[in-house]
């Protein structure tokens, strides 16, 4: 029998605010243990939380960028459970009145993954276990999080990966988070269940906790899918449980500990007051949402004539997209700019992080100037290429490497002289050509281009060379 995968995501994203959600400590990643702490974020007796305004703004922007409805009235609740990484023995979160509800993310195959809600909450500290001892660091405690809860609308590993990548791109674009999975600023809990192909009722789901790599998410889901299918095929039943993914063995195993039979006893936090957001405020925040990656791709393809592939390669990273748009303003053919970026610039940005931070010497204005020279026929493509390399190395503008005379082009006599010189000094190539070896003429043209330092018009040169050989 054929089975279908049904998956939903609960994604935690750390917000890039300056300070923690309820106190003025920094949210900087790392730092010596317990050096980003104060009485409030270690939960000393008598302290009170004060909500960071920016956290609310960021969460609303995340909601607007994912087509959510923003609640005018919302509140903070206490989620009670006792664990050493949680200093107050409750996490301040949102239970029945989240800030954002009913959004969606649209995948390239046109399917919409519905978002049930986005709510704000505080992160917990870190536990380090050594030789059975437990070391506790609260630097991360109180860092603001949004939890993005999807409906179980995902049907394949590819959809899952695209969903996570899209979320990542959007959150980075609107600047609410750097979404660095390896640093834990984006973490996913994945709910997986299976059902016979064509069935529309949900099977029993398992939850794979704290996934922090897209690759592992894919592997874990595949493993869990086949594990569940095997179970059912062999007459067994899937048991609802929380799992941990073990990347070394690529297996999932049940998690014990704080989850066992929890009853969170949610109630409104009496230390915090109601959050009310007016439609005006929501509209003002909507104005701050930039053009999103998938919108850019569409525009690059339709208006700028880029290929789907090139368009998404550029739109994927906000900084690169902005660089591309500035560099191609007013140029005849934006494709040229795209080619320079995807060709020469990307060669210098190996990792995703390199592309994300996009730290290069050349400015968009400099590239724009270079491409315009090509448009005006002042320099030829291959000269432009080598020049761009020099620009990228040094950060200097095109004028540093291409002189006025270079750009003046080559007058006809000079060109003809060079062609004759080429014929004289390359008898071998001339012979070959006469023997019908069409390609041989190319080396003669190459000679002319070289001598003219790329200024000669290759087509005209070829034509003239052929005319003298005959």
């Amino acid at each position: 029998m054929q089975y279908e995968m049904v998956a939903g995501f609960e994604t935690h994203v750390e917000l890039a605010t300056n300070t923690k959600i309820f106190c003025a400590c920094t949210t900087k990643f790392g730092g010596d243990p317990n050096t980003h702490c104060c009485p409030i974020c270690i939960g000393l007796p008598g302290v009170l939380p004060k909500l960071n305004r920016e956290v609310v703004r960021f969460a609303i922007r995340a909601g607007l960028a994912t087509n959510c409805k923003i609640a005018n009235i919302s509140k903070m609740d206490r989620k009670n459970y006792c664990y050493p990484d949680l200093p107050k023995a409750y996490q301040i979160s949102q239970y029945d009145k989240p800030l954002c509800e009913n959004g969606y993310i649209e995948l390239s195959n046109g399917r919409r993954i519905r978002l049930n809600r986005i709510h704000i909450e505080e992160d917990a500290g870190k536990l380090i276990h050594k030789r059975g001892d437990t070391y506790i660091d609260y630097n991360r405690g109180g860092v603001p999080l949004i939890e993005i809860v999807s409906e179980p609308d995902i049907r394949s590993v590819d959809e899952a990966k695209e969903y996570v990548e899209k979320l990542q791109q959007i959150m980075r674009y609107i600047g609410v988070s750097d979404c660095r999975m390896q640093e834990g600023s984006m973490r996913c809990d994945v709910n997986v269940s299976v059902r016979p192909m064509g069935s529309d009722k949900l099977g029993t789901r398992t939850e794979i906790k704290n996934m922090n790599s897209i690759t592992f998410i894919g592997k874990a889901m595949e493993y869990e899918f086949s594990r569940q299918v095997d179970l059912i095929e062999n007459g067994g039943e899937v048991e609802q449980q929380t799992l941990r993914y073990n990347d070394a063995e690529n297996t999932t195993s049940p998690m014990r500990g704080k989850e066992d039979a929890n009853d969170y006893r949610y109630f409104r936090d009496p230390d915090l007051v109601t959050i009310s957001v007016s439609d005006e405020e929501i509209d003002d925040l909507r104005k701050t949402i930039p053009e999103l990656p998938f919108e850019k791709v569409a525009r690059y393809v339709s208006d700028l004539g880029l290929s789907e592939k090139d368009a998404s390669n550029i739109a994927k990273y906000r900084r690169i997209a902005e660089f591309f748009e500035e560099a191609s303003s007013g140029v005849k053919n934006p494709k040229t700019v795209a080619n320079f970026i995807i060709g020469q610039v990307f060669r210098r940005l190996e990792t995703e992080d390199d592309k994300e931070s996009f730290d290069i010497k050349t400015t968009a204005a400099q590239l724009n100037e270079l491409v315009k020279l090509i448009d005006e026929g002042k320099i030829k493509n291959n000269l432009a290429k080598s020049t761009l390399e020099k620009m990228l190395d040094t950060g200097e503008g095109v004028k540093e490497f291409v002189s006025e005379s270079d750009m003046a082009g080559l007058d006809e006599n000079a060109m003809k002289q060079l062609c004759e010189k080429a014929v004289e000094s390359n008898p071998k190539a001339v012979e070959d050509y006469k023997k019908g070896k069409q390609k041989a003429v190319k080396s003669l043209v190459g000679f002319v281009m070289k001598e003219s330092r790329g200024k000669a018009d290759a087509a005209a040169a070829e034509e003239y060379i052929i005319s003298i050989i005959k």
Binding site: P39, I42, G43, L44, P45, G46, V47, L48, P49, K50, L51, R78, N80, C82, P84, P87, K88, A89, Y90, T134, I136, D263, R265, F267, P270, D271, L272, V273
Partner: protein, 488 residues
């Protein structure tokens, strides 16, 4: 005319009759001789007090003008955080805990030159009505040390009533300022919720807790209230005092003031207490006030509503005592979970455990709607009932407690019976209203009886003025200084 101690001591300082250091030493030695009997203080901070006193003396010497509270010794309930000074809520679980920050109220008062004599006794985590759940044993009543001082702010009441502190700050969640004030024959003010910052007050029930003064006179209460009531950005529920200076509102005239009397407050209250409150009603009538009699049926559910909500919040507030970051930690355990459970089981007393369990129960799956949610809605109707009542009257007059100070150890072992004695005080906390308890007579055995004046939100000025007028007319008959402590 009852002159407050704060002004009297202030005059002595200003007229150089006594130096702040001498005054502080006077109180410190009084504590030394009396605290054995009263057990009001759980920690005496002599060094800090003398340092603070010296600083004030220098200011006075340098001719700087002295603020109302500068150089006046005082005390704080042991659940108000004081940087570097042990703050335990009189619980074993906070043994040795020294806060690394100050409660906002203490920042304000120490900033004005207040001199902290020490931290005073209380029921463990403010859960109790006799101060007897304190890890350090209960405080005694200065009028009869075989009787309790009341609770939970029993230590402050005992210290102020016993003249080993001119005034003190307590906290009131279900009557913890007013009830011990009534038992010890002094004045206790529970401000409007949000008038005084809760930052640094170790939480019992966050939506009920308020810090307030315990003093010997209404004027003193007004002075201290003016000093501590303020908006605090650290407390999201803080409102401040709406710009009112209540001291200036004490004026000897209540002609035409409407004083409400609600039958429910007198249900099951002993005759001698009803009688002395009724006498107060006559006094007010004679002073030209208009008495409005009415009913407050919503009060019937006040006690269970209070215990359900307060314990629910407490069960969550007290989850943090896990032996990891501060306080007591059990000696032997096999894993962290066992460490936490043993620490809490050994660190908390019986009453605290009972309330944590009740709170957990009413919030737990399957019971939330029947208890917590229902109680929240009833809280709403009690709030509305008072709002309606204050359309027809300026203040409400009621007994503070349906009993007077009882013998130590006689507190009925049945918790419910003890809870029932909070009947007159909890409605004010449920509705977040200001309430003040002042002495209004004595029972058969000469123990003080208190009456309570309740106002609408942020109407401290009205209840203080009504209390002040009564005090000025009656202080001779209703106030009896105790034989303990500093005599001025």
């Amino acid at each position: 005319m009852a002159e407050g101690i704060i002004k009297r001591l202030g005059k002595m300082l200003d007229e150089k009759e006594i130096s702040c250091t001498e005054l502080t030493e006077k109180y410190l030695s009084a504590i030394e001789s009396s605290n054995g009997d009263l057990n009001a203080y759980v920690k005496v901070t002599s060094d800090e007090a003398l340092t603070a006193a010296k600083a004030v003396d220098e200011k006075i010497a340098s001719g700087e003008s002295r603020g109302a509270l500068a150089g006046i010794p005082m005390t704080l309930k042991d659940n108000i955080s004081t940087k570097g000074i042990e703050t335990t809520c009189c619980s074993k679980i906070l043994e040795g805990y020294k806060p690394i920050y100050n409660a906002t109220v203490w920042n304000k008062l120490s900033g004005e030159g207040a001199v902290l004599l020490g931290k005073t006794n209380m029921d463990e985590f403010a859960m109790g009505s006799s101060c007897e759940t304190s890890y350090f044993g209960g405080a005694a009543n200065p009028h009869d040390i075989t009787c309790v001082a009341g609770g939970s702010s029993g230590g402050v009441a005992s210290a102020v009533g016993g003249n080993i502190a001119p005034y003190g700050l307590g906290s009131d969640t279900g009557g913890s300022i007013r009830q011990p004030a009534s038992f010890c024959g002094i004045v206790g003010l529970k401000p409007t919720y949000g008038a005084v910052s809760r930052y640094g007050l170790i939480a019992y029930a966050s939506s009920f807790d308020q810090i307030g003064p315990l003093t010997t006179t209404v004027e003193d209460a007004a002075i201290v209230y003016d000093a501590i009531s303020d908006y605090d950005p650290m407390d999201s529920t803080s409102r401040g005092n709406c710009g009112k200076n209540v001291l200036s509102s004490l004026k000897n005239d209540i002609k035409g003031m409407k004083i409400g009397v609600a039958d429910e407050y007198f249900d099951g209250v002993p005759d001698d207490i009803c009688q002395s409150v009724e006498n107060a009603v006559k006094v007010y009538e004679s002073l030209g006030a208009e008495i409005v009699r009415f009913k407050l049926p919503a009060l019937k559910s006040a006690l269970p509503v209070y215990y359900i909500l307060a314990c629910a919040e407490a069960s969550s507030n007290l989850g943090r005592y896990d032996g990891i970051r501060y306080g007591y930690r059990t000696a032997n355990y096999n894993d962290i979970n066992e460490m936490v459970c043993k620490t809490r089981s050994e660190g908390f007393g019986a009453e605290v455990k009972r309330r944590i369990l009740l709170g957990t129960y009413v919030l737990s799956a399957g019971y939330y709607d029947a208890y917590y949610k229902k109680a929240q809605n009833l809280r709403g109707s009690i709030v509305n009932a008072f709002a309606d009542a204050f359309k027809d009257c300026d203040v409400i007059l009621a007994p503070t407690v349906p009993n007077t100070a009882f013998k130590k150890g006689s507190a009925i072992s049945d918790p419910i019976q003890t809870y029932l004695t909070d009947i007159c005080t909890v409605p004010v906390n449920i509705a977040g209203l200001p309430g003040i308890s002042i002495p209004c007579g004595f029972d058969g055995s000469g123990m003080p009886i208190g009456m309570q004046l309740i106002g609408d939100k942020f109407c401290e000025d009205k209840i203080l003025n009504a209390a002040w007028v009564y005090e000025n007319t009656m202080c001779g008959e209703v106030f009896k200084p105790s034989s303990y402590g500093v005599s001025l």
